[in-house]
Each structure stands twice: as structure tokens, then as C-alpha cells.
Symmetry: C2
Subunit: 335 residues, 2 copies
């Protein structure tokens, strides 16, 4: 019989319908993996030598004589960089000027340097730039919330091949973020404990949804995962903001995210995915009730009318089986 599971973080009910389950292999849709693309592509504005085809860079991380990671303003920015933050009310209409920051982070000089196939030091460099831009974006007084995310592949919302992430500073704290933080606060008020710390403890005891664990980090498929192979990656130490990581925690987190992406890449043949950082809207936020994390969401299924109408989700894959499958993926030896 299908079962409904409640997601305590998002307050969503998820219908687990494993009768409709596919085998993990059935999610595999293509024959070429992104790592097999050429390392350089003449027509790609993000490849080295084509720097003049992008807007002026906002940040640059060098290795030797050349850049390793660059950030540039998004050419198709959703928000405008210049201008004042203004608000208007007119009857029921609430409007704000669309000011804010929106950068593209070119993760790597190589056209095929995808997170799943690069060296350890490269993913650590990427994270160093994530951290630096995250901190800098909050210095702009118009920015209330920084959203860091990656769209990988057409089903995840990008047609650009060259490995890149995005970072947006919005002039409001989105209600979705505030709602999660408020719910975490309620749990803390009730129990005196961080909800997420408690979840980590239960997951580490049960172990059947864990995908990887090391001294600093744990990654697992949530008990009420909204979609197949959905993964949460948490620092073990309690902290509300991404900007509070120690150097060794940051490196462990970078490597953990890379390993998760590798397990998806080699296990599900390079699926399209998004990942997002979920952190408090304050880089130095030191509250006791929120715990930042990364969510990795492979785009293997499509939300339709039922999800739109109900806000509930149907997941055909059992989280325990997904975790078991991902743990079993054979990774190539590191160079």
C-alpha cells in the first residue's frame, strides 16, 4: 500500500507510491555524458580566450598565470545592478524596484570540467569562490537574501554547457525561506533543540537513508523526499549560515557535494539536476534553530496538475532504496 510521509522541514505531505516505481536504470535517458564533451569549445563565451565576450568580471580566482574560477554579471539578469530600492502601494498592489545582484560563476576553465569529474582541489576552489561571493553580496545594503544555486542540463533550466553556477542577491527575504525558519523556530521553542540536529541524529542512528558520512558532513535522502534521489547535505556541527564554516568543514562539504554529484553521474548516467544552498538571510546569523544545508535535486520527474493543485508530491521511489542504490555506485579511483 502507498504511504504518506510528512516532511517536517517543508511541512509537505509526500505520497510514496513505490508500486509505480521504476528501476534506477529506467531513469537513464541519454548516451553521452557531459564529461565527454571537448575541454575547449571555440564558440563558448565561458572558455578561456573568450573573456572579452562576457561582461566585465566581478571576481576572479587565479591558479598560476591563469584564472581558475571567474564570476561575471548575468547577461540575462533578473534584477538590475544599479538603482535604489523603492516600494509602492496602490490599492492591493505591492511593488518594489527590481534591484539586486545576479552573477554567473564560471566554475572552471575547462568546457567539460563538471563537478563530478574534476580534481579535489578544483571543487575546493569553486567553494572558496562561492563563500567569497556569498559574503560580498551581503555587503550590498539592498540585498536581503542571497540564493546560491546550480542548474545543470536542459531539464534543470540551462542550455549552456560550460560548468557554471549562479548567485542572486534579492531585495526581499522570500516568504518560503522565512516560513522554514519560523517553523524551525517553533520546533526549537517546543523542544530546546535544533530540528535539523535532531533529524541528523535520527538519520545517523537509523543509517538506512545515509549516502555518505565523514567527520564534518552527512548526506542522506530525506525521509519524506519530494522526488526521486533528492539529497540533503548537512554540516554536522550546528550552524545557521554557510559563512560560519571552518576551513576544514568547508573542504569536507565541497568534497561531499562532489561525491554526491559523482554518485549521480556514474549511477544514473549524468542526470540533469539543480542544487541550492539553504542558509539564513544573514551571513553571520548565529541562531540556535536553523541549520544550513545543500539540497541536490535530480530532475528525473515532472510536477503536474496534482502537485500544482495540492502542493503535495508523489514520489515513486522509496528514499531507503534510493540511498542504498547511491551507496552502491562504484566510483572510479581518484587520480
Amino acid at each position: 500500500m502507498p504511504e504518506l510521509r510528512f516532511n517536517l522541514v517543508t511541512k509537505d505531505w509526500v505520497i510514496m507510491a513505490p508500486e509505480r516505481a521504476k528501476r534506477p536504470e529506467d531513469f537513464i535517458k541519454k548516451n553521452i555524458e557531459r564529461g565527454e564533451l571537448p575541454a575547449f569549445k571555440e564558440s563558448c563565451p565561458f572558455c578561456p580566450g573568450n573573456e572579452q565576450r562576457t561582461p566585465l568580471e566581478t571576481y576572479r580566482w587565479d591558479r598560476g598565470d591563469s584564472w581558475q574560477v571567474r564570476s561575471i554579471p548575468n547577461k540575462f539578469s533578473a534584477l538590475t545592478r544599479e538603482g535604489e530600492l523603492t516600494r509602492q502601494m496602490d490599492g492591493l498592489k505591492r511593488t518594489m524596484s527590481g534591484v539586486g545582484l545576479h552573477d554567473v560563476i564560471i566554475e572552471n576553465p575547462r568546457h567539460n570540467g563538471f563537478p563530478a569529474v574534476i580534481a579535489d582541489w578544483e571543487i575546493k576552489d569553486t567553494f572558496q569562490v562561492y563563500r567569497e561571493l556569498y559574503r560580498r553580496f551581503y555587503l550590498d545594503p539592498r540585498v536581503k537574501m542571497v540564493i546560491l544555486f546550480k542548474n545543470n542540463g536542459a531539464a534543470a533550466g540551462t542550455s549552456l554547457e560550460h560548468p557554471h553556477s549562479q548567485i542572486v542577491g534579492t531585495p526581499v527575504t522570500p516568504p518560503q525561506i522565512r516560513y522554514r525558519i519560523e517553523e524551525a523556530q517553533k520546533y526549537y521553542d517546543d523542544t530546546g533543540e535544533c530540528l535539523y540536529c535532531r533529524i541528523l541524529r535520527e538519520e545517523l542512528t537509523g543509517k538506512n537513508r545515509i549516502v555518505l558520512e565523514n567527520d564534518h558532513v552527512v548526506a542522506f535522502v530525506p525521509y519524506a523526499a519530494l522526488s526521486p534521489f533528492h539529497i540533503w547535505i548537512f554540516p554536522k556541527r550546528h550552524m545557521a549560515s554557510f559563512d560560519l564554516l571552518t576551513r576544514s568543514e568547508q573542504e569536507a562539504l565541497a568534497l561531499a557535494l562532489q561525491e554526491i554529484l559523482q554518485r549521480l553521474y556514474y549511477g544514473l548516467d549524468d542526470p540533469d539536476y539543480n542544487f541550492v544552498l539553504r542558509s539564513v538571510p544573514d551571513p553571520q546569523g548565529t541562531n540556535e534553530h536553523f541549520h544550513f544545508y545543500f539540497a541536490v535535486v535530480p530532475r528525473l520527474t515532472k510536477a503536474a496538475g496534482f502537485e500544482l493543485g495540492s502542493g503535495m508530491y508523489i514520489n515513486t521511489q522509496l528514499p531507503e532504496k534510493d540511498a542504498e542504490f547511491l551507496r552502491g555506485v562504484q566510483l572510479p579511483d581518484k587520480a
Copy 2:
């Protein structure tokens, strides 16, 4: 400059980024319209003569000697029809048995009888069956909420061609629904007026987002539409539930939904879309603060990491322009 608009119903901020706008014609993606499919397809289990290939019907609406609308249990039901509603708590885990109802409504005997191209009496018949099933589903004591929706086309989540809708009775009231109702209640507490009635009044005064209006019904593109050509269709008279419509209101609503689907079909060359009914979780719900409606959502764009991470939306089309375009679509003369 882009502008942020606040959606008072969903409490979402939407970034209106018309700098990235396309022309309506640029959303058109295909060359064949669904109305040009054959009227009968031997291999289709929903076509007349193939009734034995579907599960036993749960309801049937006849015209003359043959059926006009049928409903059958969904073969790939997310919920199981038999069994008791049970709940379990174990540490942080909250589980419920996945019981409920999930039917497919075959709208029409014709394989190509899509809402945009059928006769007035046919769409009225479809609505009569929607109403009847909506009422019946609530008679099951395990059902807390009934979700009525349509997935039209692959981008909207269905690969079945034959015109069909779906109706699901879930054993919980989804938090998303409860949240909207609570927000409407707060507005009522504050002002003594239904938020939606107030929105209708403003829209009918301003007129620039209205797509159609008649004695009983008004349809418009919401001020803070989450995506291009998003449309809300409301009964003008205040009522919280779909089951409170008079006969003439019901017919006017059916025809209004059809006209909206026609404007999309002829204007954007038969786009994929979802529509959903948003009504209170009680067929006789007579509260003063919620106002039921249909939402029509063409699937022309894709939510990606930004939406996932922020819960905010980026809409490249201005609602005022979308409404103007839809009003201007030339419809064929009715037979």
C-alpha cells in the same frame, strides 16, 4: 527596470523581467494542433469500443445510446481505494496509510475532442461530471480534500492524448491549501471583506488584465502572475466551494474556461497546460473569506534552481501585455 510584484493570495514575490520577454509567437513550439488528431484511434484505451481495456467505470454520463463522459479509477493511482486511514508516529517520522480516491475523467468519446474545439453542450457535460464526482468524493469519510485538475500535453505531465482530467481525494488537507485559506481569513479579519472579492473589484475597475467577463464570471491574468499567460477564472458571486454554483453559473463557468482554453489554443498554437480547481476542503463550505476559482497554467517556461532555492518566481511577460494579447486572439465562429 524589472519590478517585483507581490502575490497577495500566495504571498509570493514575483520578479517581472520584461527585458527578457519574448514575443507571444516565440512561445509557439509545434506544428500540429491536437484538434487535428484522428477522432478515433484503435490503440487508445479511452476511445469507444475499448471500454473493456480500462478498469470498471465509477461514473457515466450518457447522451442517447452511448456515453459522453466516463470516469474510471486511475490505473496508476497514487492512492489505494481500499483500506483504512491510519496514522503512525515514530520519533520524527509521521506516516499515514496512502488511502484515497483517484479517478480519470474521460471528457469525451472523441480522441480529438479537446476542450478548445468541442461544442458548448459538451463542455457543460464535462462540468456536470466534475461537479458530480467532486460531491461524491467528499462522501467518502477518509477523503479530506478533493483536487480536480487537468494535465494537457507532455510538458504538463501526461503522454496520453485522449482528452481527460483527473480527480483525487486525499486523506489530508494539504498545507498549501490550508495556508491560502488562513491567509484569506486574516485578510477578512482585518477588513471584513473577502480578499478575492476585493481583487475582482479592482480588476474590473482597472480592466487592463481582464481577458473575459460575463454576467457570472470574470477571467484575468493576475497582477503578480507567477508565469507567462497564467489565468484565474472566478465566479463573480462570493462562494467558497465549487459545489455552491447555481446551474446558470456553472454553465457560464464551463463556457468561460472553454473560451480561455480556446484563446490559448488559437493564440499560442495549442500549448501544453495544467488547470486546477482551488476550492475549500468541504463541498458545502459557506465561509465568508475564501472564494473558489480555477487557475490555468500554460507550461511555457521551466522553474529552475532560483525558484527552487528562493520560492520566488521570474516572469518575463507582463500580465497586462498577456491579457491584451489574449483578448485580441481571433476565435473561429461557433458552429
